[in-house]
Symmetry: C2
Subunit: 785 residues, 2 copies
């Protein structure tokens, strides 16, 4: 077929592809005899065959063609591999490019190196079978599917010269997050951002089933992809020689189209219209070039090629088939006698940082510039005593974040992410300086939308998280605000990101990246509007289950503490920082310097709130803004009911101080913990989330048996703020009664306290049923020391 | 405009719509004066305005037209409302149809009833602002967005006469789960299943932003919907008279199309091809018929109409505007002097079970037929003593589930769900009796695919869960198998379903439905292939955080226990049952009768495994199949190392027995717990999941301070099965050492035990690095009593 590739180019490309395939099969199967210098024996084959062949040859095919394109056009390109099962392919390519050996010197480009390369794959103490942090050039873990395209867009934002080639598996394409991700192209600005080139890899099968997109026909698929805003280019077939030509030609067209879109946008004065971005549909057989038939059953082009097409080496014919398969790549043409890739082939790949396996964007810490941060003290709420003024904590934070944005505008390395909730979460001060990114039509009635916006709003927590992860992993900074309950939508994405960070921290060549910062607001205690469906504080548990190296949880009790915590999180690296704070007007407790000291310690005694810190009868502990309010109100009640007792108030900002030092680096040592919570006095602890979390964190502490926790116990509906705490036994009256019931010397006063408690709750119930709002003494409550 | 509606029909439809709108606005705003018999005063307006107007008039518009269609064609129709914020609209319609009063007699169709209807909405002790279990006719909670279409398909499966009208909000359409759900039409068989009629409601705005689908233009949107396999019919405008005609005409066409598709499929002999199902795109202004301008800013047709368009009643003009707005619906034409809807209007609605608010499918327990269950004992693994044979637990279960399917084939009320993992999870015996549902093209190489399949496989945990929820909520049964780690993808869906169950259980007219049964397999300890990304046992924590009324967690240690637990779960109602069990060949411990006794108790002493149950030196506790194996191996080691000690082995199947009885109905009373775990002896507890879970469950127990837990601590990679437990300190050698270290009288033997431990671990490391598989003594280990 006539095509853009000369015979020589075609031969080189095909040989390079065969080399990558050979090295991939070798990794999956071989522990010795890497160059097949002797006839293959069972001893050469690994005892446990763990890997995935099916998607790999297609990935290798794309890779070699991208290499050629990079060289020909001096591109700055990185990859995202959605079918992360193709791990051996990416490792093979990094090895062919030399960067694997640069990162792992023991894996030399020689016979011995190749043997180690093969052996380490899916070998205990070696490397995992998926694309992983260990894989040079990757920012995207293989395994859990669905996030490739969102990661790709996150990487492309604010990287105008970068092209992110993103292979989307047709299995992955069935997931929700991936299905939503196609619309990311409504948020990418060709004038300012890089380009994403989606390559939908239709190899037709998942683990055990055909894929939907492979079975809807080309017309319907074309409609779908055009409906997503793309222009699809089809590359389809199974004849390598033909496919090389078609792929080369298609990439040429696609690149020209990307360049043309970008040139139009960058040269124009007006904001660019939303373009129809090109994409590729690559339809090749699953397990292409692998065994066609095994034990009489078709394998190539079916789901049977998903993992290891040949598995039972007690059958001699399998060994024979494996040898034939490996030999079909003609390794002697590819590698010299020492096992080094032949120079003519090696020359096909780009060099230095143009190699996708060495692109610095894929090791984002290398490019990370610290944010220029304003002094958060400048945004502090001024108060001359605790409880003197009210403020909306997130609105105060919004003013700080606006200045963070302003100071870093020229660096273009900071974005705010939220699922249609930035204004609802009261961070809208941001719009003074940065609009919401929007490439769609803009109507006159719209506000704060523009193609150059830096606030990312889409009604998908998955997209917000995926974009942010991609943005962080390529060396930038971000902040994700979300309704507390709906953070669970991204539980699994959090898991995967936390795993990535945990592993990356121990890979010397991976440089630290900015932390993933969550602000959860519109929280469980103030869902007056939305009720039960919006009430769930369990994301704290989810983060706390992550490894202590990575997980941090903060519950600032007021606006100044929120400022201090947020500034700390923006400076931190390689963490998942969870901040939970309300958006409603609440009384403020700490001046800014006091807030800084308190947040730095992570927890502390609020001497101004207690009535006898030295030898208290009870410790009133609290974590979270609403629990803190209720605790302080309970202290006022106790001062009235039982003025003769001594109360210590302890507030916890950094939840992990409660855990033992042996379990978490933020954990207080036992002396420090005991100094706050005592060793033999009752502790009434009011907690923002599920009470069991506090027990889980403190069960090793001396005084644990005396810690009595109140928190969310799955009760709720659309109701008043105070009724929410009543429903969950977290209200001031209950906390005060808890204290009286647990102080031994008050035993005789318990009956009266209980009567008073029940009378109050009855009064509350009658009042809200009649008036639909909280009682005046609750609404008008103020702290008085 | 000429149209299908006569002038009289048009007038009635419009009046009915106005009545629903009036009642909706009344619910959001009014606490008194429901018929506006006096001029509106501030005292008539609720003090807290909590509700969502924006989407409501569009929902009411759809509803009245569906009512007309139901009556004209005697349809069996139910609704799913994606924009669940439209709660007041659905309540209003149920009230207009009379079913609200039937369910809640105090809400009469009279002035007083209307006042109570208005007042209860978003009122403490009243009803929540969203569509919720309290709403007659609903199976879909408003609030968290994304699951409407999946629920609709779940409801339609196996209900050939049912049409499920599903309103999809354009905000919701941006979510991942919804984006994936469109492809559900590849799984619905017009010959056997009902129809889903998606109505994409393009009102243009989310909380604070335009929606993507409203801004991509009609051509691109048409491509997209055709790409999803639908034929879209557009109903667009803001002139009610015109829109009523267009909607009536469109519904006529759409119904004819559905009928024609079904007739073709039901009359044909051959399996029907996949049809192009019709759908509607309804483009009307957000907050249609509400205030156009408030305080000089446009409201109708913008995001400002999302919640309460008029909110600040300190401004007299707002009160005036509210009155004008309410009067614009001309309530005196709609309701008689007593507040009862006029008969001519009421006659528009269907009656009895044809009313969508009274459709029995939406109260699935009414239709629930118990499964015919085979005796699970027939599938038991036979063993004459513990550890005598190996079996793959899930494969054994698969044979039982196959028979469950067979026995219920004629009822068509059982399906199996899994994200492309049924075979991988070794439940493929099912294919003997039921194929995988697949309406797409089928190639000769495909296996077990057919239009009449009852195994639902799609690579989306969201879709599996959403379909299953819809199927259960409409009174059928199902079973969801999933890789353990990826169950986190549906954490948030689990939350919402558990909330629904919790509330439903306390609504007298809601009848119990079949439990949501999860089988998590391919679990954390046996991800030899997939490594770290597939290793996460945290879904247990997620379920355990749900309310004790609903949450159940089972960790069967072997195949017979798995059978017993699964049969129990299939019989249960209104629970979320989580079962975690491995699929790999493992030694079997209990004969079937013993397994039944053990699972019924939930936990018990394994006398045959211990060496001194009566006065043990140590309790070796375990929960989960791999921890049980390691514990028994540790017991063998201890018998060798320290033969003079007395060991009690306690296995836990039902995790919640560990919790106090006061916290969970399955919790053992303290005497029962102490009888297993003692009060002052060391307990070494090997747990499948995160160790903190055991502490959280047992912290109130007398012996808690002596319970030492091993479990998953976020260590893992692609490695051997035994190396996984070594990495996490859950291996037999570690457990044995733990025991020795904690038995006081063995203090002098600790140094030798430690030396032995470290030597063993060193030997293990060397062996697997060299051989890539576990040491022979691990691979060949067998229990000997």
């Amino acid at each position: 077929m006539p095509g853009p590739l000369s015979d020589e180019q075609l031969a080189t490309i095909d040989a390079y592809w065969r080399a990558a395939n050979y090295l991939s099969v070798g990794q999956i199967y071989l522990r010795g005899n890497p160059l097949l210098e002797q006839p293959l024996t069972r001893a050469d084959v690994k005892p446990r065959l763990l890997g995935h062949w099916g998607t790999t040859p297609g990935i290798n095919f794309v890779y070699v063609h991208l290499n050629r394109l990079i060289v020909e056009h001096t591109l700055n390109m990185m990859y995202i591999i959605g079918p992360g099962h193709g791990g051996p392919g990416l490792v093979a390519n990094a090895y062919l490019e030399g960067s694997y050996t640069e990162h792992y010197p023991a894996i030399e480009r020689s016979r011995g190196g190749m043997e180690r390369l093969f052996r380490q794959f899916s070998w205990p103490g070696g490397i995992p079978s998926h694309v992983s942090p260990e894989t040079p050039g990757s920012i995207h873990e293989g395994g859990e599917l669905g996030y490739s395209l969102a990661h790709a867009y996150g990487a492309a934002f604010d990287n105008p010269d970068l092209i992110v080639a993103c292979i989307v598996g047709d299995g992955e394409a069935e997931t929700g997050p991936l299905a939503a991700s196609w619309h990311s192209n409504k948020f990418i600005n060709p004038a300012r951002d890089g380009a994403v080139l989606p390559i939908l890899h239709l190899n037709g099968y998942k683990i055990a089933n055909p894929t939907i997109l492979a079975r809807i026909g080309r017309d319907e698929l074309t409609d779908l992809l055009r409906g997503y805003g793309h222009e699809p280019y089809f590359v389809e077939g199974d004849d390598p020689a033909l496919l090389h030509q078609i792929m080369a030609q298609t990439l040429k067209l696609v690149l020209a189209e990307i360049r043309s879109i970008q040139a139009a946008a960058r040269n124009g004065a007006a904001p660019p219209p939303r373009p129809r971005w090109p994409m590729i549909v690559l339809k090749t057989p699953k397990g292409w070039t692998g065994p066609k038939v095994v034990d009489g059953l078709p394998v190539e082009g079916t789901w049977r090629a998903h993992q290891v097409p040949l598995a039972d080496f007690s059958k001699p014919e399998h060994l024979h088939q494996l040898e034939e398969w490996l030999q079909s790549y003609r390794p002697d043409e590819l590698f010299d006698a020492d096992g080094k890739i032949r120079d003519a082939l090696a020359a096909l790949a780009p060099t230095g940082h143009r190699r996708m396996s060495s692109n610095p964007h894929a090791n984002g810490g290398m490019l990370l510039e610290p944010l220029s941060l304003p002094d958060f003290r400048d945004f502090a709420v001024t108060l001359d005593r605790p409880g003197a003024v009210e403020a909306e904590a997130t609105r105060v934070l919004g003013q700080y974040l606006r200045e963070v944005m302003r100071l870093n505008l020229d660096r273009q390395n900071f974005r705010l992410f939220g699922p249609d909730e930035t204004a609802s979460n009261r961070l809208d001060a941001m719009y003074d300086i940065a609009d919401k990114a929007w490439m769609g039509e803009i109507d006159p009635v719209d506000e704060h939308l523009s193609a150059t916006g830096r606030v990312m709003e889409v009604l998908s927590e998955h997209l917000c998280q995926g974009w942010l992860e991609g943005y962080l992993l390529t060396g930038r900074h971000g902040f994700f605000s979300c309704y507390e309950a709906f953070a669970h939508i991204v539980d699994s994405m959090l898991n995967q990101h936390a795993k990535w960070l945990k592993v990356s921290r121990n890979i010397p060549w991976r440089r630290p990246i900015a932390s993933l910062n969550y602000l959860l607001t519109s929280h469980v205690w103030r869902q007056d509007h939305n009720g039960l469906s919006h009430q769930d504080p369990g994301f704290i548990d989810q983060v706390a289950n992550k490894t202590a190296e990575v997980a941090r949880v903060y519950l600032p009790p007021d606006a100044n503490c929120l400022l201090s915590v947020a500034a700390h999180c923006l400076r931190s690296r390689d963490y998942v920082n969870l901040i939970v704070a309300g958006k409603q007007p609440e009384w403020q407790w700490l001046g800014i310097e006091e807030a800084v000291r308190h947040c730095t310690a992570g927890a502390g005694i609020w001497h101004w709130a207690g009535t006898g810190d030295d030898g208290p009868d009870v410790v009133m502990g609290c974590a979270g803004d609403v629990p803190t309010l209720e605790t302080l109100a309970a202290v006022m009640l106790l001062r009235e009911y039982v003025p003769d007792i001594r109360i210590r108030v302890v507030n916890v900002v950094d939840l992990m101080v409660l855990e033992s030092r042996s379990e978490h680096p933020h954990g207080l040592d036992d002396r420090g913990f005991d100094a706050l919570f005592g060793t033999d006095i009752p502790v009434i602890f009011a907690f923002h989330g599920f009470p069991a979390m506090i027990h889980k964190l403190t069960y090793r502490r001396t005084n644990h048996a005396n810690i009595h926790v109140r928190g969310y116990k799955q009760e709720g509906t659309t109701t008043t703020p105070f009724d929410m705490v009543v429903l969950n036994d977290l209200d001031r009256f209950r906390l005060a009664l808890d204290a009286i019931e647990r102080i031994p010397r008050l035993a005789d006063r318990i009956p009266a306290a209980r009567d008073r408690y029940w009378a109050t709750i009855e009064r509350h119930k009658l009042y809200i049923a009649e008036h639909g709002e909280d009682m005046p003494d609750i609404q008008n409550w103020r702290w008085s020391a």
